[in-house]
C-alpha cells in the first residue's frame, strides 16, 4: 500500500512538473554560477597581476638606478619584512642565485608567466605548505634572470569557496525540489482522491452526494480544483433533477397506466361472466368499450414516446421557416366551433407574416394544445384571447393566450409541465395529462420560453416567447385555407 502510494506520487502530473522545474532551475543556477565564478576569479587574478606589476615596476626602478647589486639588496630588504606576500629569486648572468627564497625548487624560466605555479612556503619545507603563486619571470638586460611571485592563496580560497557554496546550494535545491514536488503532488493527489472517492459513492447510487471543495460546496472562489468540482456539482444537480424526474415519470406511468388497464380488465372480466351466465347476451358493446380503453392506452403511450423523441431533439433537422401567423390562424379556425359550443368567445390579434424557424407539425400541435387547454379548462361563456406579436429588438415573436378560467395557482405553475401532472380541479376533465408536457418539450426544442402568469382580473395567461435567433422570414403569405390542397393524396 505504502509502496503503491509512492508510485502514485511519482506518477502525478505535479511531480512530473516539479521535476521539470527542478531541472530548469538547476540549469539556470549552473549558468549563473559559471558566470559568477568566472567574474570573481578573473577579478581576483587581475588584482594579483596588478600587485605583481606594481612590485615589478618598483624593483625595475632600483635595477635601472643601481644595477643588479642594487636590485639584489632591495630584494633582500623586502624579504626581511614580515608577512609580505611576494617571493623572489634573482640570478646573475652565469645562473648563480644571488638572492631568493625558492630554497629547493629552481624557479621556472620562460619569461613572463601569468600562470599560477605551486612553490614552497618561505623558509619552510617545500612539501609542508604548498601554496599557489602567481609568478612573473623577467630576463634582465645584463643576462640575469629575475623571478617574482605573489601568493595566490586568496584566489584558491575563493575558488574553493565558490565551488563549495555551489555544491551545497545545488544539493539543497535538489532536496527542496524533491520534497516540494512530493508535497505538492501529495496535496494534489489528496484532492483528486477526495474527488474520486466522492464520485465512486455517486456512481454507487448516492446521487445526493457532491464533490468536496476547500471553500464550501458552492463556492467558485477557490482554485482550479474547486472550480472544476463546483462545475461538476452543478452538473450533478442537473443530473439528480433529471433522474428524479425519470423516477417520478416511471412512477406516474405505472400509476396512470394501471388505472385504465384495471378498467380494461374489469370490462373483460364482467363480459366473461355475462357470457357464462347469459350466452346469448350482446358482446359487441363490451368489446367496443374494451377497444376504446385500449386505444386510450395506446394514445398515452404514443404521446409519451413523442415527448421523449422531441426531448431527444430528434426532429431539429426538420426545421425550416414556419409562418406562425398562418399556423395560429389555422389552429384558431379549427377550434372556433369547439369554443362556440361552450359559448366561449375567441378573439385574436394576429398580424400577418410573423415567422419563426421550427418544425411546423410540432408548432401546430403545441399551439393546438395550448388553445385546447384554454377552451377545456375555462367554463362556458369564458373569454379567450390569442395574440401574436412580431419580433422585437431583443426577442423573437411572442404568442399570448389568455383566458378568464380558473387559472393555475402559482405554486403549481412549474409542475403542470410534468408528464401526467394534473391539477386537482381538472381531474374531471378529459385528457391524459401529457398535453403541457408535450408543449414544454416543443418549447425546449425550439429554444423558446414559456411563462404562466395571472390574467387579471382572473384566469391564466400563457406567454410563449421565441428566441430572437429563431425569427424567420417567409417569402410570401400563404393562403391559409381553400386552394391549399397539398393534403389530398392518393386520389
Amino acid at each position: 500500500m505504502k509502496r503503491r502510494r509512492w508510485a502514485d506520487l511519482v506518477r502525478t502530473t505535479s511531480f512530473r512538473l516539479a521535476r521539470l522545474y527542478a531541472l530548469l532551475f538547476g540549469s539556470s543556477a549552473l549558468v549563473v554560477f559559471a558566470v559568477i565564478y568566472w567574474a570573481a576569479t578573473s577579478a581576483m587574478s587581475d588584482q594579483l597581476d596588478a600587485g605583481l606589476d606594481a612590485e615589478r615596476a618598483a624593483l625595475d626602478e632600483r635595477y635601472r638606478a643601481s644595477g643588479i647589486d642594487g636590485l639584489s639588496s632591495a630584494v633582500a630588504e623586502r624579504m626581511a619584512q614580515p608577512a609580505q606576500p611576494f617571493r623572489y629569486s634573482l640570478e646573475d648572468a652565469s645562473g648563480r642565485m644571488l638572492v631568493g627564497d625558492f630554497p629547493n625548487t629552481p624557479p621556472p624560466r620562460g619569461g613572463r608567466s601569468d600562470t599560477a605555479i605551486p612553490i614552497g612556503a618561505p623558509g619552510g619545507d617545500v612539501d609542508e605548505h604548498r601554496h599557489l603563486y602567481r609568478a612573473l619571470g623577467v630576463a634582465l638586460k645584463d643576462g640575469g634572470f629575475f623571478f617574482l611571485a605573489e601568493d595566490a592563496h586568496p584566489l584558491e580560497e575563493l575558488r574553493e569557496f565558490l565551488l563549495g557554496a555551489f555544491g551545497w546550494g545545488a544539493g539543497a535545491t535538489l532536496v527542496l525540489a524533491v520534497l516540494g514536488s512530493m508535497g505538492m503532488s501529495a496535496g494534489v493527489l489528496r484532492r483528486v482522491e477526495a474527488i474520486n472517492r466522492a464520485s465512486e459513492r455517486i456512481m454507487a447510487g448516492e446521487l445526493h452526494r457532491r464533490l468536496p471543495t476547500t471553500t464550501g460546496v458552492r463556492s467558485g472562489s477557490g482554485d482550479e480544483f474547486d472550480r472544476l468540482a463546483a462545475n461538476l456539482n452543478v452538473m450533478l444537480d442537473r443530473i439528480e433533477v433529471l433522474v428524479q424526474g425519470l423516477r417520478q415519470v416511471s412512477t406516474d406511468i405505472a400509476h396512470d397506466l394501471r388505472t385504465p388497464l384495471g378498467r380494461l380488465r374489469r370490462i373483460l372480466e364482467s363480459a366473461r361472466e355475462n357470457a357464462l351466465v347469459q350466452p346469448e347476451s350482446a358482446v359487441v358493446p363490451v368489446i367496443d368499450q374494451a377497444i376504446e380503453e385500449a386505444d386510450g392506452l395506446l394514445n398515452t403511450f404514443g404521446a409519451l414516446s413523442r415527448i421523449a423523441q422531441i426531448e431527444a431533439g430528434a426532429s431539429r433537422r426538420g426545421f425550416g421557416p414556419v409562418d406562425l401567423s398562418a399556423v395560429l390562424e389555422d389552429v384558431l379556425e379549427v377550434y372556433a366551433p369547439a369554443a362556440e359550443e361552450k359559448d366561449q368567445t375567441l378573439t385574436r390579434q394576429i398580424p400577418a407574416g410573423v415567422a419563426v424557424l421550427g418544425d411546423r407539425a410540432l408548432l401546430v400541435q403545441m399551439l393546438a394544445n395550448l388553445v385546447e387547454n384554454a377552451i377545456q379548462h375555462s367554463s362556458s361563456g369564458a373569454h379567450i384571447e390569442v395574440a401574436l406579436r412580431a419580433a422585437g429588438d431583443r426577442e423573437g415573436p411572442q404568442v399570448t393566450i389568455g383566458d378568464d378560467g380558473p387559472g393555475i395557482p402559482e405554486a403549481e405553475r412549474d409542475k403542470v409541465f410534468r408528464r401526467f401532472y394534473r391539477l386537482d380541479t381538472s381531474r374531471s376533465t378529459a385528457g391524459n395529462g401529457l398535453g403541457l408536457a408535450l408543449v414544454a418539450a416543443v418549447v425546449d426544442l425550439h429554444g423558446a420560453n414559456i411563462r404562466l402568469s395571472d390574467n387579471p382580473p382572473r384566469g391564466l395567461c400563457v406567454t410563449l416567447i421565441f428566441a430572437e435567433m429563431m425569427t424567420a422570414r417567409v417569402a410570401a403569405e400563404q393562403p391559409t385555407g381553400g386552394a391549399h390542397c397539398a393534403g389530398l393524396r392518393g386520389i
Binding site: 367496443d288 377497444i291 376504446e292 386505444d295 395506446l298 394514445n299 404514443g302 414516446s305 413523442r306 423523441q309 422531441i310 430528434a314 426532429s315 433537422r317 426538420g318 389555422d330 379556425e333 379549427v334 377550434y335 366551433p337 369547439a338 359550443e341 418544425d359 407539425a361 410540432l362 401546430v364 400541435q365 393546438a368 385546447e372 377552451i375 377545456q376 378529459a430 385528457g431 391524459n432 398535453g435 391559409t480 385555407g481 381553400g482 390542397c485 393534403g487 389530398l488 393524396r489 392518393g490 386520389i491
Partner: protein
C-alpha cells in the same frame, strides 16, 4: 376488388391484415421479407402496396425507393411500429403515399387502402366534383345541392371536397385531421365532430330522413353516394 401486396415480416400482423382485406373481397399477396417483397412488387401488377418500415434484410424505405426508381407508380402505404416524428416525412419523401402507425384499427387500414386506390373516373373529373345532388365547382369554389347554393367556410369546403373525392368510402377521423387540417396528432377535443356536424347542418335539408354524411360508429364518416331525392 383490389389486388394488394402486403410486405410484413411479423406473421401475426400480416395474417390480421390479409384476413381482413380478403374478407372485404380483395386479393391479397404476402411477402415475409424485403427481398421477396421487392421481387413480387416488381413482377406483378398491384393496386396498392402495404409496406412495413422495419423489415429483415432490405428495409421498407429502401424497397419503396427501389420500386419508385423502377418507375412503378402503385400507391404505397407504410406501416411502422415506431411513431417517429421524422419517419412520416421520410416515408413520404421516399415515395410512400400514406403512413400508418402500428398498432392500428383495421377499419383505419381498410379506409386508407381504399382511399389510396386511384379511381380513374374521379381523377379525370378535373374542376368539378359531383356526388348525387351535390355539385362542387373547384375553381369558383361554389357548392350546390340541387339548385340551392350552399355557403361554406374555407375549411368546410375542404372537408366536403375530401369527403366528395372519397364518396361512398369510409373516411376516418385521423384521415380528416391529416388531410383537411394538416394535424398529425390526435386532439383531445372533438374538433372533427364539431366541424362535421356544422357541415351536416348546412348540407342536410328538412326532407332528409338520413344525413348525407353518415357516421360510421367507432370508425369515421361516409358521404352517401346516391342520396335519396326525398
Amino acid at each position: 376488388m383490389m389486388k394488394i401486396l402486403v410486405i410484413e415480416d411479423d406473421s401475426d400482423t400480416a395474417n390480421y391484415i390479409v384476413k381482413g382485406l380478403t374478407q372485404q373481397g380483395h386479393v391479397v399477396d404476402r411477402a415475409p421479407d424485403g427481398r421477396d417483397g421487392l421481387f413480387l412488387a416488381a413482377g406483378e401488377k398491384y393496386d396498392v402496396l402495404i409496406v412495413d418500415r422495419m423489415l429483415p434484410g432490405l428495409d421498407g424505405l429502401a424497397i419503396v425507393k427501389t420500386i419508385r426508381g423502377a418507375g412503378v407508380k402503385t400507391p404505397i402505404l407504410f406501416l411502422t411500429a415506431v411513431d417517429g416524428i421524422d419517419d412520416r416525412v421520410e416515408g413520404l419523401e421516399a415515395g410512400g403515399d400514406d403512413y400508418l402507425v402500428k398498432p392500428f384499427a383495421f377499419a383505419e387500414l381498410a379506409a386508407r387502402v381504399n382511399a389510396l386506390f386511384r379511381r380513374p373516373a374521379l381523377a379525370e373529373a378535373g374542376t368539378a366534383l359531383c356526388v348525387g345532388e351535390l355539385q362542387m365547382d373547384l375553381l369558383r369554389r361554389i357548392v350546390r345541392r340541387g339548385d340551392q347554393v350552399i355557403e361554406l367556410q374555407p375549411r368546410e369546403f375542404r372537408l366536403l371536397e375530401y369527403l366528395m373525392r372519397h364518396a361512398g368510402q369510409l373516411v376516418t377521423r385521423t384521415m380528416l385531421l391529416e388531410h383537411v387540417w394538416d394535424f398529425h396528432f390526435d386532439p383531445q377535443t372533438t374538433v372533427v365532430e364539431t366541424h362535421v356536424s356544422r357541415l351536416r347542418s348546412k348540407l342536410d335539408q328538412k326532407q332528409d330522413d338520413r344525413s348525407l354524411i353518415e357516421t360510421v360508429r367507432g370508425a369515421g364518416y361516409r358521404l352517401r353516394e346516391a342520396p335519396s331525392l326525398g
